[in-house]
């Protein structure tokens, strides 16, 4: 994967005001990583049609949501570290 310009780490559910704020700030070269209750976005399908959208495996599994996202989009903490290290910038929402 080409390095991301900005990695957006989103841990808020879709009904949270900062979730909506985050979606406004994602540029075409950016990546979105869903963590904690951010992974609930996978049930709001319209929001996750991007190839640069990922979700943290333990949070998906805890919530029973792994079947609802393609396996290429599921990442580990090791992947998260790699993304956070290689992206030009990181924003935690």
């Amino acid at each position: 994967m080409t390095p991301l310009k900005t990695l957006h780490i989103l841990n808020k559910p879709p009904d949270h005001s900062r979730y909506r704020l985050c979606l406004c700030a994602i540029g075409p070269e950016d990546g979105l990583l869903l963590t904690e209750n951010g992974v609930l976005a996978v049930t709001w399908l319209a929001d996750i049609n991007s190839e640069r959208c990922f979700a943290l495996a333990p949070d998906l599994e805890a919530r029973g949501l792994s079947p609802q996202i393609s396996s290429e989009q599921i990442v580990s903490f090791e992947d998260m570290v790699d993304m956070a290290a290689t992206a030009e910038h990181v924003i935690s929402w």
């Binding site: 780490i9 841990n11 808020k12 559910p13 949270h16 900062r18 963590t35 904690e36 209750n37 951010g38 943290l56 333990p58 949070d59 580990s76 903490f77 090791e78 998260m80 570290v81 790699d82 956070a84 290290a85 990181v90 935690s92 929402w93």
Partner: protein, 147 residues
């Protein structure tokens, strides 16, 4: 504020150094848990973590007095052990900590308090420690409360 700042800005941290800032408290957020998963994976990938900085409600992670039920993970204990094993500094912001009742022995004496509750190896210091990390080129990752 940290007096080491000028020196640090002259010697930027090497690439691959992380600073983790935790602003969410255990029990009211998953932030300390997620941050610990990230920290372990970072060390496993041979990255360095220069410090953990606790800010806002995140300072509660440094409490020595939390006693969750025995079948629940004690996050304060787990974080303290991780920091000690890996010789990583864990710093709670002094302004956040004093407001929220998290104090070490010297603050206890200074303010005439009936006790102290900071868990070793956590320390208390100013925002300068955070500025130091940010300005020295460390990659700062924030772990906020979720929702």
């Amino acid at each position: 504020m940290s007096s080491s700042l000028p020196e640090q800005t002259q010697t930027p941290a090497p690439a691959g150094v992380f600073t983790l800032v935790i602003t969410g408290a255990p029990y009211s957020s998953q932030a300390p848990q997620t941050a610990l998963g990230f920290a372990r994976a970072a060390l496993a990938a041979n990255k360095r973590i220069d410090r953990i900085f606790l800010y806002g409600d995140g300072v509660h992670l440094a409490s020595a007095l939390s006693v969750p039920p025995s079948d629940e993970l004690n996050l304060s204990e787990a974080w303290a052990a991780f920091l000690a094993e890996n010789s990583i500094a864990g710093v709670a912001c002094i302004a956040s900590a004093l407001r929220r009742g998290l104090v070490n022995d010297s603050e206890m004496q200074r303010y005439g308090l009936p006790g102290s509750n900071l868990r070793a190896p956590f320390e208390i210091a100013g925002l300068g420690e955070w500025v130091d990390s940010a300005a020295s080129g460390s990659r700062v990752i924030y772990f906020h409360k979720g929702g």
